[in-house]
Symmetry: none
């Protein structure tokens, strides 16, 4: 016989709070439970509400899943945005995106699984805000490559989309392994390896351009620092 819950306390909370509670509960469940084992009633229980309440705030189960995933993704993008903008240098930029992604996966493999195995397979996934976010996020890599091409650091015939697919494809392969194997997953070395491989593949046959570019920037920085030093002294 099922556990009958003791008569629950009706508490009227502001909607934002309720929504937050539900999403937190859902996220916890996804993180703990394996594939496809999340059940509305369990999420409700953990959030301290009943099933019906969830349906006041979310159109259906899938909507809840989407929103949880979106929030996670948004969080991840917001976290990295500031630093990402400030990065200089193609290698660093590539590395940062890749490393940051791996780190997020390591922290939240359950959510990753949710997205990879449950949300992405849905037939209308491309019409989803989650898809848009993901597209934007992974698009950063394309941007980096494109910029590198413009600046002559990368081969002019490189294909930014392919680079993105190779990077995130490789990440996914390793993630999948991590999810199943329960093997450890080291963002640091892995990010460096992937970045190196891509970077090397993107460099022009001989790469004097890059060296020059780096030297140029080095000079510029030096100049700025000197100026700064002068100002501070003054």
């Amino acid at each position: 016989m099922q556990q009958r819950s003791p008569r629950r306390q009706v508490s009227r909370l502001p909607p934002e709070r309720r929504i937050a509670d539900i999403m937190t509960a859902a996220r916890e469940i996804f993180t703990e439970k394996g594939y496809t084992e999340h059940v509305i009633s369990e999420i409700a229980e953990r959030a301290g509400v009943v099933e019906g309440t969830i349906y006041r705030f979310f159109a259906n189960k899938n909507d809840l899943l989407q929103q949880v995933a979106e929030a996670w993704f948004q969080e991840m993008m917001d976290q990295s945005a500031a630093h990402y903008e400030a990065i200089r240098g193609e290698w660093n930029a590539l590395h940062f995106v890749i490393f940051h992604t791996l780190e997020a996966i390591r922290r939240d493999p359950g959510l990753t699984r949710l997205i990879l195995y449950e949300l992405r397979p849905e037939p209308d996934h491309r019409d989803t805000r989650l898809y848009a976010l993901h597209y934007e996020y992974t698009g950063r890599l394309c941007g980096i490559v494109r910029e590198g091409m413009e600046r002559g650091v990368f081969r002019p015939d490189a294909d930014p989309d392919l680079v993105r697919d190779m990077a995130f494809g490789a990440i996914e392969m390793r993630t999948w392994s991590y999810l199943h194997h329960k093997s450890s997953f080291e963002p640091g070395p892995l990010a460096r390896e992937i970045t190196d491989m891509l970077y090397t593949g993107l460099l022009p046959a001989a790469a004097p351009a890059q060296r020059d570019e780096t030297l140029r920037r080095l000079e510029a920085v030096t100049l700025r620092l000197e100026t700064l030093a002068g100002e501070t002294q003054a």
Copy 2:
């Protein structure tokens, strides 16, 4: 004891034939239907049998899925084995594996979806014959890379597993796009692009090997200085 009903119309086929019918029907359903919408009853109907018959030949639904997938995979491996053995040259070998995979996916996207989204996520997938086959198949790439390294064609510090993950990762990203987008999917150009990218990334540096390494360290220093400069200014 069960009640029997009068109607009946049995057509008797040799088991191999029935099994083939069922597997064909299942394969068709997988190809047509979206994610998770394949149902035993539908497969049975299409195969011209009742549900119970399927259970004569397959232990359960999952067993049927596995076998269909295995057969497809085996077919794919057998087809390519002869030619694969005969190939000369790293680029050619890489390209052949990649191209052949893409071709198979283009022909049978439904089965690909089956494997990627339904069979692979299963918790015990690693103990599966399908996994073993897949591992062997993708391992070809590692073999090629390793051989290239031995022959001095590729950088001695390359990581064969990473190359495999990048190649099949990229393939998967495109496949996923193909599955949803219903966009076309051109094995020819795609295979060439992926191969080029990997191949280039694997070649030893034209200039002394440490050039890149030096450059990278220089780059890192620059970055630090730039950051410092930014912070100091602010």
Copy 3:
């Protein structure tokens, strides 16, 4: 996600009421239907709910059966407890337990069948609350015998467990006959017969002890009554 159909007509009852309805329905079905012909769908229909509702309150079919049987048993024990405590004399005590059991069976042969033929055969029956109840209930007989032995009314070499098995074994044989034969089943005479047989078998070869004991009690009561009569007069 599931498709919903429009029709619906919900009647909302307090859980206790629903549970009671379901258990009543189940009990009716068990009483009417023969061996193993009770089906969840039928119980649901009779209780005026759909099958799924039953699973809100009972973990599975077996759980429902167990609970119905337990309730019946508990009822039976509660009913008899008060009187049982008050009984004096070995013969009376034996007779009461036996008679009461036969009466309960006569009233509810269907539930008896449920317990004997379906619940008891289960492999883990011994870990069941029903088993514990049954054990306690039939244990009353052992207690009576043991007490009789201590008081010297019964042979010192009697085996209480065997007495229990003979009593309830005989009851079961007759019950079985009743269940199939649809023959009548008269608790009164039967209880007397069984009790006599056991009682006789338990007496010491010659039984002066008992006579003495009874005489002693008779004297004691007489004395008390005399005293009482005196008090009342005063």
Copy 4:
């Protein structure tokens, strides 16, 4: 996937032989498998035939079960018939029947389970040859009691049917315990105990027969008085 048997050798056997094979296989299965876990296909396989063949010789599954049980029973009766006829003395006769039954159960608990839990519960069990055999077999006890009564060894007011029910009832209770508990089950001591208990209960009172009756009435009066005394006090 199920094991497909290698193309079986069609061998034409005399019907008696086939029947014997099937019954032997069935008996083995019943002995090994737990409650309700015997499946026609398994019996067929063990007998070296296919399901269909069984239906040539047995009307249905139940018919097979019945015949196996009957054969076992018949065997048991035949085995004991000779000795049973020759026995002298009531105690010896009672003991022999009880002991022999316990021995048979100890040897074949699986078949006992089959009869107790599956065949006997069937609604039309009383119309069965198995029932008739069983009735005849257990009737031996009645005969012994009746004869003892005629010879004046047993009380003239004994009830032979009740003695039978107590004996076989007790046996069944112990059997049930044996089947579940996997506890050992010792026919020797147990038979002696049961026989003693019955025998003692059947002997005429050493003292005049009405002694017990008088005692009992005295006991009842005492009880009434005690109760009265208690109530009056309260």
